[in-house]
C-alpha cells in the first residue's frame, strides 16, 4: 500500500489543483484502505471527488458557502466514522448519495426560516452546442436551437435524470436509488419520457 505520495517535481511548478496521482487500482481498494485508516487514501478520495461533488451541489442549490460547509461536514463525518462505513465499488456514487441527502437536509432547514429565493438552483441545465467542425452532421443548427428550447422546458426531474445518465454515467439501479424511485424500471421510464420529449423535434 503506498503511503505518502510525494510528486516528483523537479521544476517547481505544478497545477496544484490536480488530484494526487491515483495510486489505487480500483475504487474498492481505495475505499477499503481509507476505512482501515490509510490517510493518503482519504486524501486521494477527497482530491478525486471534491470538484465533481461541488459541481453537483451547485445544480441543486446555487449557494457556494452552503455547498462548501456541507462538503466539509460530509468529509469530516466520513473520516470520523471510517471504521463503521460499508464497502462500495463506486466511491463516486456513494459520495453523491450521502452528499445529496445532507444538502437537501440543509436546504430545507434554511428555507424554513429564511426566504429561499435568494438561492436559485441551477436545476441541472444543459445545452446542445452546434459544432461547426463536425463531419457528416445529422442535426442542423435550427434543430439544435429548437432542441435547446425543449431542454429548458423539461421538468427538473427529467433534466436531473439526464444529468446522472449522460454526464455522470450512473446506471439505472444507481439512478433509482439516488432519485428515490420505486424500481429501476421507473427510472428507465422517466428517462425514456424525457428523451422522447426531445425526440419529437427530430
Amino acid at each position: 500500500m503506498p503511503a505518502k505520495k510525494v510528486t516528483s517535481n523537479p521544476y517547481g511548478i505544478e497545477d496544484f489543483r490536480l488530484p494526487v496521482t491515483p495510486t489505487f487500482s480500483n475504487d474498492s481498494e481505495a475505499w477499503d484502505a481509507f476505512r482501515q485508516g490509510n490517510e493518503s487514501a482519504f486524501i486521494f478520495i477527497y482530491q478525486s471527488y471534491f470538484d465533481v461533488l461541488y459541481v453537483y451541489g451547485f445544480s441543486i442549490v446555487s449557494d457556494s458557502n452552503l455547498i462548501k460547509d456541507t462538503l466539509q461536514d460530509l468529509f469530516i463525518d466520513l473520516r470520523e466514522r471510517r471504521q463503521y462505513l460499508g464497502s462500495t465499488d463506486s466511491i463516486k456514487f456513494y459520495l453523491f448519495k450521502c452528499f445529496k441527502r445532507r444538502l437537501y437536509k440543509e436546504v430545507s432547514k434554511r428555507s424554513a426560516f429564511k426566504d429561499s429565493l435568494d438561492s436559485i438552483p441551477a436545476d441541472f441545465q444543459f445545452i446542445l452546442s452546434y459544432e461547426a467542425q463536425l463531419i457528416d452532421r445529422q442535426i442542423d443548427a435550427d434543430k439544435i436551437s429548437q432542441l435547446n428550447d425543449a431542454i429548458v422546458k423539461l421538468s427538473r426531474r427529467q433534466r436531473e435524470i439526464i444529468y446522472y445518465s449522460f454526464f455522470e454515467g450512473f446506471n439505472y439501479v444507481q439512478i433509482q436509488e439516488i432519485m428515490e424511485l420505486e424500481n429501476h424500471q421507473s427510472a428507465r421510464n422517466l428517462m425514456y419520457k424525457a428523451i422522447k420529449e426531445l425526440r419529437k423535434l427530430l
Binding site: 517547481g12 497545477d15 489543483r17 461541488y54 466539509q72 445529422q138 454515467g169
Partner: protein, 346 residues
Amino acid sequence: MKNVEDFLTNPEFIRWVNHTDKELGDYWENWRIANPEQLKAMKIAKEILQGSSFERVMPPLGMKEEVLESILRMKNLAADKPNIEPQMNLTWAELFWNGIGQMSRVAAILIVSFGIALLFNLSKINKIEKVPIVSEVTIRKTTAAGEKMQLTLSDGTKVWLNSSTQVEFPEEFGKDQRIITLTGEAYFEVENDSLRPFTVRTEGLLTTVLGTSFNINTNQSGRTQVALVSGKVVVTSSLKTFTLSPKELIDFDPINAVFNVVNFEIPEILAWKEGVLRFNNASLREVVTALEEWYGVEISLENEKGVKWQFSGEYKKQTLEDVLISMSYVQKFTYQLNDKSLTIRL
C-alpha cells in the same frame, strides 16, 4: 428495431460514446455493421450525446485546499485531547503537506494573496451576505479532436484553441494578475495591461507577458513550445528564465530539462489558426496523427510495413474527403471512410 430514444436511454451506448468503456467499442462497431438501416438513428443519438454539455460551476480557486486543511485540522483538535501525545500535531501537518505534493505549499501562498485581492471586487455581488465571500468562478473550455474554438477573456485578450486543448481561467481576473492554465495548443493575443501581467501556466513552465501575441503548444510528446509573434514574453521554469524576441521559439523538454531557443517561420506555427493543415516533409505517423486531430477521426493503417513518407502539402479549410482524394493520388494509397473511422491501405 432501435430508434433514437433506445440509444439515448441505453447506459452502455452512453458509456461507449463518452469513451468511458473501451471494451464496448467492438460491440457497437459490430452492431453498426449488422444493422445498417439504423445507422441514422445511431448517428443522431451520438451527435446529441457528444454535443450536449452540462453547465459546470467549478469551486472557487483555493476552496478545495482550504476545506481539506480544515478537515485535517479537525483531526488535530482531537489529537490535542490529553491522552494523545502532543507530537501528533506535527505528524498530521506532515501528512497533509506530503499528501498533496510539495509545490502546493507555494500554491497555497499564491491563493491567499490572490484571494485577498478579490475580496473587495466581489463584495458588491453578494448583497445578501453581510460578509463578503470570495466566490471566483473558474471557467474551463475544452476542444475535442477535430474541434477548434476562439475565446475572448474578460480583459479582452483573444485566445484560439487548437484541437484537443483545455484552458482554465477565472471568470474575472484579479486586480494584479491574469493567470490561465493550458494543456494542448493555443494562440494568444494579449490585451495590454501593464499593471496586470498575463501568465500562461503549462506543465513545468510559466510564460509571462505584457501585451503581445504568441503560440504555446504542449502537444509534442510532453514538451512545451512557446513561439512569440510580437511583443515580449518571459518564460520561467524553476531552472532558468528566458526572454524571447519576436520570431523566437523556445522548446522545453521537461524530461531531460533541455531548453532550445530557435527561430521559426510565423506561417508554419500559426497555420492551424487560419484553418490551414500543413505538412512539411512529414512522416506517415505525423500525417496520421495530424489528420486524426484535425478531423476527429480514428485512422487504422493496413500494410504499413516498410512504408516511408516525406510528405509536404497544404490544405486550406478543406474537407477530409478532399484531402484524402489529393493525398491518396500523390502517396498512392486507397482508403475507406465510415463516419469517424478511416482505413488507409498502403
